[in-house]
Protein backbone atom coordinates (compact mmCIF):
# COMPACT_ATOMS: atom_id res chain seq x y z
CA UNK A 1 0.00 0.00 0.00
CA UNK A 2 1.38 3.39 -0.97
CA UNK A 3 0.55 4.74 2.46
CA UNK A 4 2.94 2.38 4.19
CA UNK A 5 5.71 3.02 1.69
CA UNK A 6 5.75 6.68 2.70
CA UNK A 7 4.71 6.19 6.33
CA UNK A 8 7.60 3.90 7.28
CA UNK A 9 10.49 6.19 6.26
CA UNK A 10 8.67 9.22 7.71
CA UNK A 11 8.22 7.42 11.01
CA UNK A 12 11.87 6.37 11.04
CA UNK A 13 12.99 9.94 10.38
CA UNK A 14 10.92 11.43 13.15
CA UNK A 15 12.07 8.79 15.65
CA UNK A 16 15.69 9.50 14.76
CA UNK A 17 15.13 13.28 14.97
CA UNK A 18 13.64 12.90 18.44
CA UNK A 19 16.51 10.62 19.46
CA UNK A 20 19.11 13.10 18.22
CA UNK A 21 17.57 15.94 20.13
CA UNK A 22 17.32 13.88 23.34
CA UNK A 23 21.03 13.08 23.03
CA UNK A 24 21.75 16.78 22.43
CA UNK A 25 19.89 17.67 25.61
CA UNK A 26 22.31 15.45 27.54
CA UNK A 27 25.03 18.02 26.67
CA UNK A 28 22.97 21.22 26.85
CA UNK A 29 20.91 20.56 29.97
CA UNK A 30 22.73 23.12 32.13
CA UNK A 31 20.59 26.07 30.96
CA UNK A 32 17.39 24.17 31.56
CA UNK A 33 18.44 23.15 35.06
CA UNK A 34 19.39 26.75 35.87
CA UNK A 35 16.00 27.94 34.55
CA UNK A 36 14.23 25.64 37.01
CA UNK A 37 16.14 26.93 40.02
CA UNK A 38 15.73 30.28 41.81
CA UNK A 39 18.28 33.03 41.22
CA UNK A 40 20.26 32.06 44.31
CA UNK A 41 20.78 28.33 44.47
CA UNK A 42 23.13 25.97 46.19
CA UNK A 43 25.20 23.27 44.53
CA UNK A 44 23.01 20.58 46.18
CA UNK A 45 19.85 22.03 44.62
CA UNK A 46 21.57 22.17 41.24
CA UNK A 47 22.78 18.59 41.53
CA UNK A 48 19.35 17.26 42.51
CA UNK A 49 17.57 19.03 39.60
CA UNK A 50 20.30 17.88 37.23
CA UNK A 51 19.95 14.31 38.49
CA UNK A 52 16.19 14.35 37.89
CA UNK A 53 16.67 15.55 34.31
CA UNK A 54 19.35 12.94 33.65
CA UNK A 55 17.00 10.22 34.93
CA UNK A 56 14.24 11.47 32.61
CA UNK A 57 16.58 11.49 29.62
CA UNK A 58 17.89 8.01 30.44
CA UNK A 59 14.36 6.59 30.71
CA UNK A 60 13.55 8.24 27.38
CA UNK A 61 16.46 6.41 25.79
CA UNK A 62 15.18 3.17 27.27
CA UNK A 63 11.73 3.73 25.79
CA UNK A 64 13.34 4.55 22.46
CA UNK A 65 15.07 1.18 22.60
CA UNK A 66 11.71 -0.53 23.10
CA UNK A 67 10.09 1.33 20.26
CA UNK A 68 12.97 0.90 17.81
CA UNK A 69 13.18 -2.81 18.58
CA UNK A 70 9.49 -3.14 17.80
CA UNK A 71 9.89 -1.07 14.65
CA UNK A 72 12.95 -2.84 13.22
CA UNK A 73 11.77 -6.32 14.12
CA UNK A 74 8.66 -5.78 12.01
CA UNK A 75 6.15 -6.04 14.86
CA UNK A 76 4.80 -2.55 14.26
CA UNK A 77 6.47 -1.50 11.02
CA UNK A 78 3.41 -2.22 8.92
CA UNK A 79 0.77 -1.26 11.44
CA UNK A 80 -0.85 1.94 10.07
CA UNK A 81 -2.28 3.28 13.31
CA UNK A 82 0.88 2.79 15.35
CA UNK A 83 2.82 4.30 12.46
CA UNK A 84 0.62 7.39 12.41
CA UNK A 85 0.64 7.77 16.19
CA UNK A 86 4.40 7.34 16.39
CA UNK A 87 4.93 9.80 13.54
CA UNK A 88 2.70 12.43 15.14
CA UNK A 89 4.06 12.22 18.69
CA UNK A 90 7.72 12.07 17.71
CA UNK A 91 7.20 15.05 15.39
CA UNK A 92 5.55 16.94 18.24
CA UNK A 93 8.36 15.92 20.56
CA UNK A 94 11.06 17.13 18.15
CA UNK A 95 9.40 20.54 17.83
CA UNK A 96 8.74 20.87 21.58
CA UNK A 97 12.24 19.77 22.54
CA UNK A 98 13.77 22.28 20.11
CA UNK A 99 11.79 24.92 21.97
CA UNK A 100 12.93 23.31 25.23
CA UNK A 101 16.54 23.86 24.22
CA UNK A 102 16.31 27.26 22.56
CA UNK A 103 13.85 28.93 24.88
CA UNK A 104 15.41 27.32 27.97
CA UNK A 105 12.18 25.90 29.33
CA UNK A 106 12.02 24.59 32.86
CA UNK A 107 12.60 20.94 33.64
CA UNK A 108 8.96 20.14 34.47
CA UNK A 109 8.04 20.71 30.81
CA UNK A 110 10.34 17.83 29.88
CA UNK A 111 8.22 15.49 32.00
CA UNK A 112 5.08 16.55 30.09
CA UNK A 113 6.75 16.00 26.71
CA UNK A 114 8.12 12.69 28.00
CA UNK A 115 4.69 11.47 29.12
CA UNK A 116 2.95 12.29 25.84
CA UNK A 117 5.68 11.66 23.30
CA UNK A 118 7.82 8.83 24.74
CA UNK A 119 5.62 6.85 27.09
CA UNK A 120 2.58 6.69 24.81
CA UNK A 121 4.22 5.11 21.73
CA UNK A 122 6.29 2.78 23.90
CA UNK A 123 3.13 1.57 25.69
CA UNK A 124 1.37 0.93 22.38
CA UNK A 125 4.51 -0.84 21.17
CA UNK A 126 4.45 -3.12 24.23
CA UNK A 127 0.75 -3.84 23.60
CA UNK A 128 1.62 -4.82 20.04
CA UNK A 129 4.50 -6.99 21.30
CA UNK A 130 2.09 -8.77 23.62
CA UNK A 131 -0.41 -9.11 20.78
CA UNK A 132 2.10 -10.62 18.34
CA UNK A 133 4.19 -12.81 20.60
CA UNK A 134 1.65 -13.50 23.32
CA UNK A 135 -1.65 -13.81 21.50
CA UNK A 136 -0.09 -14.95 18.19
CA UNK A 137 -1.86 -12.32 16.08
CA UNK A 138 -0.44 -11.28 12.71
CA UNK A 139 1.79 -8.22 13.00
CA UNK A 140 -0.18 -6.12 10.48
Amino acid sequence: MSAISSLVPARFLTIIAHLVIVITIFWSRENNVKASLPLEFTQEQYDSEDQKLVVALAVTLGLFAIELSGFFSGVSMFNCSQGLLSLAVHCGASVSLSFFVFEMWECWTYWVIFAVCSVLPAVVEIILFVGVFGLKKKPL
Binding site: M1, S2, A3, S6, L7, C80, S81, G83, L84, A88
Partner: protein
Protein backbone atom coordinates in the same frame (compact mmCIF):
# COMPACT_ATOMS: atom_id res chain seq x y z
CA UNK B 1 -7.00 12.58 -29.90
CA UNK B 2 -6.91 14.61 -26.67
CA UNK B 3 -4.50 17.51 -27.14
CA UNK B 4 -5.31 19.90 -24.32
CA UNK B 5 -7.45 20.23 -21.23
CA UNK B 6 -10.66 21.97 -22.15
CA UNK B 7 -12.36 21.92 -18.70
CA UNK B 8 -11.90 20.37 -15.25
CA UNK B 9 -13.85 20.26 -12.01
CA UNK B 10 -13.10 18.63 -8.64
CA UNK B 11 -14.87 15.38 -7.79
CA UNK B 12 -15.87 15.17 -4.15
CA UNK B 13 -15.20 12.00 -2.16
CA UNK B 14 -16.71 11.75 1.32
CA UNK B 15 -15.04 9.48 3.86
CA UNK B 16 -17.55 8.17 6.36
CA UNK B 17 -17.05 6.33 9.58
CA UNK B 18 -18.87 5.73 12.83
CA UNK B 19 -18.25 7.61 16.06
CA UNK B 20 -16.05 5.17 18.03
CA UNK B 21 -13.21 4.60 15.59
CA UNK B 22 -9.56 5.47 15.29
CA UNK B 23 -10.50 7.83 12.46
CA UNK B 24 -12.65 9.93 14.82
CA UNK B 25 -9.85 10.03 17.36
CA UNK B 26 -7.48 11.15 14.66
CA UNK B 27 -9.92 13.83 13.53
CA UNK B 28 -10.33 15.18 17.06
CA UNK B 29 -6.56 15.22 17.56
CA UNK B 30 -5.90 17.01 14.31
CA UNK B 31 -8.66 19.58 14.87
CA UNK B 32 -7.24 20.42 18.29
CA UNK B 33 -3.78 20.71 16.81
CA UNK B 34 -5.00 22.90 13.96
CA UNK B 35 -7.10 25.37 15.95
CA UNK B 36 -5.18 25.57 19.23
CA UNK B 37 -1.60 25.72 17.95
CA UNK B 38 -1.99 29.11 16.17
CA UNK B 39 -3.33 30.55 19.43
CA UNK B 40 -0.25 29.28 21.27
CA UNK B 41 2.11 30.55 18.58
CA UNK B 42 0.47 33.98 18.47
CA UNK B 43 0.30 34.30 22.26
CA UNK B 44 3.82 33.11 23.04
CA UNK B 45 5.40 35.44 20.50
CA UNK B 46 4.16 38.40 22.60
CA UNK B 47 1.80 41.19 21.76
CA UNK B 48 -1.38 39.17 21.28
CA UNK B 49 -3.56 41.33 23.49
CA UNK B 50 -2.68 44.99 22.93
CA UNK B 51 -2.69 46.59 26.35
CA UNK B 52 -1.60 50.08 25.36
CA UNK B 53 -1.72 52.13 22.21
CA UNK B 54 -1.21 55.78 21.34
CA UNK B 55 -2.98 58.51 19.47
CA UNK B 56 -2.16 62.12 18.63
CA UNK B 57 -4.28 65.08 19.48
CA UNK B 58 -3.87 68.81 19.86
CA UNK B 59 -5.55 69.56 23.20
CA UNK B 60 -7.88 72.49 23.72
CA UNK B 61 -6.02 74.59 26.28
CA UNK B 62 -7.14 77.92 27.64
CA UNK B 63 -5.39 80.07 30.18
CA UNK B 64 -7.69 80.63 33.12
CA UNK B 65 -6.32 84.10 33.96
CA UNK B 66 -5.22 83.02 37.41
CA UNK B 67 -1.66 83.57 38.52
CA UNK B 68 0.42 83.50 41.66
CA UNK B 69 3.80 85.19 41.75
CA UNK B 70 6.40 85.12 44.54
CA UNK B 71 9.62 87.06 44.03
CA UNK B 72 12.46 87.14 46.53
CA UNK B 73 13.77 90.66 46.84
CA UNK B 74 16.77 90.16 49.08
CA UNK B 75 19.27 87.41 49.73
CA UNK B 76 17.87 87.15 53.26
CA UNK B 77 14.50 85.92 52.00
CA UNK B 78 12.30 89.02 51.91
CA UNK B 79 9.72 88.51 49.24
CA UNK B 80 6.89 90.17 47.45
CA UNK B 81 3.82 88.29 46.29
CA UNK B 82 1.04 88.95 43.86
CA UNK B 83 -1.93 86.84 42.83
CA UNK B 84 -5.33 87.00 41.20
CA UNK B 85 -7.01 85.66 44.37
CA UNK B 86 -8.57 88.42 46.47
CA UNK B 87 -8.48 86.46 49.73
CA UNK B 88 -4.75 85.89 49.41
CA UNK B 89 -4.04 89.46 48.43
CA UNK B 90 -5.87 90.72 51.51
CA UNK B 91 -3.76 88.55 53.77
CA UNK B 92 -0.40 89.59 52.33
CA UNK B 93 -0.13 92.99 53.93
CA UNK B 94 3.13 94.81 53.14
CA UNK B 95 4.38 91.95 50.94
CA UNK B 96 1.73 92.62 48.34
CA UNK B 97 3.01 94.20 45.14
CA UNK B 98 0.96 94.76 42.00
CA UNK B 99 2.76 94.22 38.68
CA UNK B 100 1.66 95.28 35.23
CA UNK B 101 0.51 92.15 33.43
CA UNK B 102 -0.34 91.65 29.79
CA UNK B 103 -1.54 88.32 28.47
CA UNK B 104 -2.40 87.21 24.99
CA UNK B 105 -3.27 83.81 23.53
CA UNK B 106 -2.75 83.08 19.85
CA UNK B 107 -4.03 80.48 17.42
CA UNK B 108 -1.18 80.41 14.96
CA UNK B 109 -2.42 77.78 12.54
CA UNK B 110 -6.05 78.94 12.62
CA UNK B 111 -7.45 75.53 13.51
CA UNK B 112 -9.71 76.84 16.26
CA UNK B 113 -7.39 75.65 19.04
CA UNK B 114 -5.06 78.06 20.78
CA UNK B 115 -1.36 77.34 20.35
CA UNK B 116 0.57 79.92 22.32
CA UNK B 117 0.30 81.95 25.50
CA UNK B 118 2.34 85.15 25.77
CA UNK B 119 2.52 86.32 29.36
CA UNK B 120 4.36 89.53 30.21
CA UNK B 121 4.72 90.86 33.69
CA UNK B 122 6.54 93.95 34.98
CA UNK B 123 7.11 94.02 38.72
CA UNK B 124 7.89 97.45 40.20
CA UNK B 125 10.67 97.45 42.77
CA UNK B 126 11.83 99.88 45.43
CA UNK B 127 15.28 101.37 45.17
CA UNK B 128 16.79 98.95 47.67
CA UNK B 129 15.19 95.83 46.19
CA UNK B 130 16.68 93.37 43.74
CA UNK B 131 15.05 90.20 42.44
CA UNK B 132 16.93 87.02 43.30
CA UNK B 133 14.31 84.37 42.63
CA UNK B 134 10.92 84.06 40.99
CA UNK B 135 8.17 81.47 41.47
CA UNK B 136 5.22 81.71 39.10
CA UNK B 137 2.14 79.52 38.92
CA UNK B 138 -0.36 79.78 36.07
CA UNK B 139 -3.55 77.72 35.73
CA UNK B 140 -5.10 76.35 32.57
CA UNK B 141 -8.17 74.46 31.54
CA UNK B 142 -7.20 71.43 29.45
CA UNK B 143 -9.52 69.37 27.27
CA UNK B 144 -9.11 66.31 25.08
CA UNK B 145 -11.91 65.15 22.82
CA UNK B 146 -10.75 62.51 20.37
CA UNK B 147 -11.06 59.29 22.35
CA UNK B 148 -12.25 59.74 25.93
CA UNK B 149 -13.36 63.26 26.79
CA UNK B 150 -10.96 64.67 29.34
CA UNK B 151 -11.82 67.96 31.03
CA UNK B 152 -9.43 69.13 33.70
CA UNK B 153 -7.72 72.11 35.22
CA UNK B 154 -3.97 72.09 35.25
CA UNK B 155 -1.11 74.34 36.07
CA UNK B 156 2.30 75.38 34.89
CA UNK B 157 4.83 76.11 37.62
CA UNK B 158 8.02 78.02 36.94
CA UNK B 159 10.76 78.55 39.47
CA UNK B 160 14.11 80.17 38.92
CA UNK B 161 16.58 81.47 41.42
CA UNK B 162 19.99 82.96 41.12
CA UNK B 163 22.51 84.36 43.55
CA UNK B 164 22.94 87.32 41.21
CA UNK B 165 20.07 89.83 40.99
CA UNK B 166 18.39 89.84 37.60
CA UNK B 167 16.68 92.26 35.32
CA UNK B 168 14.61 89.93 33.20
CA UNK B 169 13.52 86.32 33.17
CA UNK B 170 12.43 84.75 29.91
CA UNK B 171 10.72 81.38 29.92
CA UNK B 172 9.95 79.61 26.69
CA UNK B 173 8.51 76.13 26.88
CA UNK B 174 5.80 73.65 26.06
CA UNK B 175 2.92 72.63 28.27
CA UNK B 176 3.32 68.81 28.18
CA UNK B 177 0.86 66.22 29.39
CA UNK B 178 2.13 63.70 31.97
CA UNK B 179 0.21 60.46 32.38
CA UNK B 180 0.78 57.92 35.12
CA UNK B 181 -1.72 55.51 33.63
CA UNK B 182 -3.15 55.11 30.13
CA UNK B 183 -6.42 56.90 29.45
CA UNK B 184 -9.67 55.12 28.62
CA UNK B 185 -10.76 54.84 25.00
CA UNK B 186 -14.19 56.43 25.58
CA UNK B 187 -16.23 58.14 28.25
CA UNK B 188 -15.94 61.31 30.27
CA UNK B 189 -13.00 61.94 32.58
CA UNK B 190 -13.64 65.05 34.65
CA UNK B 191 -12.31 64.02 38.07
CA UNK B 192 -9.65 66.68 37.77
CA UNK B 193 -12.04 69.43 36.76
CA UNK B 194 -11.46 71.18 40.10
CA UNK B 195 -9.42 74.35 40.55
CA UNK B 196 -5.83 73.70 41.47
CA UNK B 197 -6.02 76.70 43.77
CA UNK B 198 -9.27 77.18 45.64
CA UNK B 199 -9.88 80.89 45.16
CA UNK B 200 -12.80 81.03 47.55
CA UNK B 201 -10.83 79.76 50.52
CA UNK B 202 -9.92 82.32 53.20
CA UNK B 203 -7.11 80.16 54.63
CA UNK B 204 -3.45 80.80 53.90
CA UNK B 205 -2.73 77.10 53.64
CA UNK B 206 -4.74 76.84 50.40
CA UNK B 207 -2.36 79.28 48.74
CA UNK B 208 0.82 77.68 50.03
CA UNK B 209 2.81 76.56 46.98
CA UNK B 210 3.96 73.36 48.67
CA UNK B 211 0.39 72.28 49.47
CA UNK B 212 -0.77 73.16 45.97
CA UNK B 213 2.05 71.22 44.31
CA UNK B 214 1.65 68.25 46.65
CA UNK B 215 -2.03 67.77 45.89
CA UNK B 216 -1.42 68.50 42.20
CA UNK B 217 1.32 65.87 41.90
CA UNK B 218 -0.90 63.25 43.48
CA UNK B 219 -3.05 63.35 40.34
CA UNK B 220 -2.61 60.69 37.65
CA UNK B 221 -2.97 63.19 34.82
CA UNK B 222 -1.07 66.47 35.00
CA UNK B 223 0.63 68.97 32.77
CA UNK B 224 4.10 70.22 33.31
CA UNK B 225 5.91 73.10 31.71
CA UNK B 226 8.96 71.74 30.02
CA UNK B 227 11.35 74.65 29.89
CA UNK B 228 14.89 73.45 29.45
CA UNK B 229 16.55 76.85 29.43
CA UNK B 230 15.12 79.87 31.21
CA UNK B 231 17.08 83.04 30.45
CA UNK B 232 18.02 85.20 33.47
CA UNK B 233 19.26 88.52 32.23
CA UNK B 234 21.44 90.60 34.53
CA UNK B 235 21.95 94.28 34.91
CA UNK B 236 18.70 95.89 35.83
CA UNK B 237 18.72 99.62 35.39
CA UNK B 238 17.89 101.59 38.51
CA UNK B 239 14.23 102.36 38.78
CA UNK B 240 13.12 99.99 36.04
CA UNK B 241 10.78 97.15 36.89
CA UNK B 242 11.68 93.48 36.86
CA UNK B 243 10.39 91.92 33.64
CA UNK B 244 9.13 88.39 33.37
CA UNK B 245 8.03 87.14 29.99
CA UNK B 246 6.79 83.63 29.33
CA UNK B 247 5.84 82.05 26.04
CA UNK B 248 4.06 78.79 26.64
CA UNK B 249 3.18 76.65 23.68
CA UNK B 250 0.44 74.04 23.59
CA UNK B 251 1.95 71.33 21.38
CA UNK B 252 0.46 68.26 19.67
CA UNK B 253 0.40 65.50 22.27
CA UNK B 254 0.97 61.77 21.81
CA UNK B 255 -1.40 60.27 24.34
CA UNK B 256 -1.34 56.64 25.43
CA UNK B 257 -4.65 54.90 26.02
CA UNK B 258 -5.96 51.46 26.75
CA UNK B 259 -7.64 50.11 23.58
CA UNK B 260 -11.25 49.01 23.87
CA UNK B 261 -12.67 45.51 23.45
CA UNK B 262 -13.29 45.59 19.69
CA UNK B 263 -9.93 47.07 18.81
CA UNK B 264 -8.16 44.44 20.92
CA UNK B 265 -10.23 41.62 19.40
CA UNK B 266 -9.64 42.89 15.87
CA UNK B 267 -5.87 42.94 16.32
CA UNK B 268 -5.85 39.54 18.07
CA UNK B 269 -8.04 38.04 15.33
CA UNK B 270 -5.69 39.24 12.60
CA UNK B 271 -2.78 37.58 14.37
CA UNK B 272 -4.68 34.34 14.98
CA UNK B 273 -6.07 33.93 11.47
CA UNK B 274 -2.78 34.61 9.73
CA UNK B 275 -1.12 31.75 11.63
CA UNK B 276 -4.25 29.58 11.34
CA UNK B 277 -4.01 29.65 7.53
CA UNK B 278 -0.66 27.87 7.63
CA UNK B 279 -1.92 25.25 10.06
CA UNK B 280 -5.08 24.73 7.98
CA UNK B 281 -3.02 24.07 4.88
CA UNK B 282 -0.76 21.60 6.70
CA UNK B 283 -3.75 19.87 8.28
CA UNK B 284 -5.47 19.61 4.90
CA UNK B 285 -2.43 17.88 3.40
CA UNK B 286 -2.12 15.50 6.36
CA UNK B 287 -5.82 14.60 6.34
CA UNK B 288 -5.76 14.06 2.57
CA UNK B 289 -2.79 11.67 2.92
CA UNK B 290 -4.35 9.78 5.80
CA UNK B 291 -7.84 9.35 4.38
CA UNK B 292 -6.98 8.93 0.70
CA UNK B 293 -4.41 6.22 1.40
CA UNK B 294 -6.66 4.56 4.01
CA UNK B 295 -4.05 4.78 6.76
CA UNK B 296 -7.10 4.67 9.06
CA UNK B 297 -10.01 2.70 7.64
CA UNK B 298 -13.03 4.71 6.57
CA UNK B 299 -15.74 4.22 3.98
CA UNK B 300 -15.16 6.46 0.93
CA UNK B 301 -18.34 7.57 -0.83
CA UNK B 302 -17.99 9.27 -4.20
CA UNK B 303 -20.64 11.99 -4.55
CA UNK B 304 -20.53 12.52 -8.34
CA UNK B 305 -22.76 10.22 -10.31
CA UNK B 306 -20.90 8.88 -13.31
CA UNK B 307 -23.90 8.04 -15.44
CA UNK B 308 -27.32 9.62 -15.78
CA UNK B 309 -29.88 7.05 -14.87
Amino acid sequence: MAFYEVYSHPALIRYKTSVCTKATLFLVAILCLTYISPLLVAYRSQGFWTKRSTYEEQPVVRYRYEALLVAATSPLGDHVTWSTFPYLNNMLGPNFRIPAVSVREEDQNQDGKLDLLIFKLQLPLRADEQVYSVQLLLTFSYQLHRMSTVVMQTLAYVQHSSSVPGAKLFIGGDLRLQQRAPLAHRGLNNIYNVSVIDGSSPFVSSYDLENIMRSYQSRNLTTVLSCPSPVWTLGRAEGSPFELSAEIRYPLEVISYRPGFWETIKLAWIQYVSVLLIFLWVSERVQRFVFQNQVLTTVPVAVEKLHLS
